[in-house]
Symmetry: C2
């Protein structure tokens, strides 16, 4: 906030959180991934207040993460669908879910994600296509656009 050039606008995490960073939005996106698309279904599933849900959906549509589509003409009914930009959030949601699975669930994961082709549990990893290997967060460094080079997550 003080340093002008450094992080306020130049951090992608912060930019992402300007769209996703309130108590409801990520849960709305989770439901969108789960196929819940209609206003009242979202409201019931989340237990969110109507005005708040209306506001969040409007913001998400404006941000380009959801798309409002008419799926029925006769009673005019719209649904909210993931755009490609919204669908690209899946690694984030999966990472969040796996963190909760590992650190917050007493009796094993409530839901296990599996590789559809074989039915075995999946993992999420960092990949270097140059070295052609996967690695953990200990081997990450960062190369800033216009900052000095520092270590990334330790």
């Amino acid at each position: 906030m003080v340093d002008p050039a450094s992080d306020s606008p130049a951090c992608s995490i912060q930019r992402s959180l300007e769209i996703l960073g309130d108590r409801w939005t990520i849960l709305i996106m989770r439901d969108a991934f789960r196929g819940i698309r209609r206003f009242d279904d979202l409201r019931r599933d989340l237990g969110i207040a109507r005005p708040v849900l209306a506001d969040r959906l409007k913001n998400l549509v404006e941000a380009g993460v959801l798309e409002r589509r008419r799926y029925c003409e006769h009673p005019p009914r719209d649904e909210y669908r993931l755009t490609p930009m919204g669908a690209a959030l899946s690694p984030t949601l999966v990472a969040l879910m796996r963190w909760g699975d590992e650190w917050l669930s007493d009796d094993g994961p409530p839901t296990t994600l599996i590789h559809e082709a074989c039915g075995e549990p999946l993992d999420q990893a960092f990949v270097c296509w140059h070295c052609n290997e996967t690695f953990g967060s200990g081997d990450i460094a960062s190369r800033p656009g216009h900052l000095t080079t520092t270590r990334g997550p330790e």
Copy 2:
């Protein structure tokens, strides 16, 4: 979806968000990854109000994500460090950062994460150790603990 007992407490994303899901906490964790550990440094960097930062740090310590450690005795100074549980958030933060890089930055990523061993940009992918291959979000299904099997993120 329908099942009442199913998702409210049983969704790991929701559990994670009970710890991380307000406007500041993820930014605090980002700064923790960046090596910002002291109260006033965090306050200055984030532009957060003092009482709010004190409250968030207390909650994060209670949740086991940060650890408060005395690093100087003479003027008694504490710092907040990532616990293993906190460090395990790196895939989540990286995913969020990469999403912002891809969809919200006009002029290329502000910061690029690289594979420390070779200096090339890294990727993040889903891995199946059974099939020994990486794949995208299109090949994910989910096997719930006590729900019917449904598709995961599409």
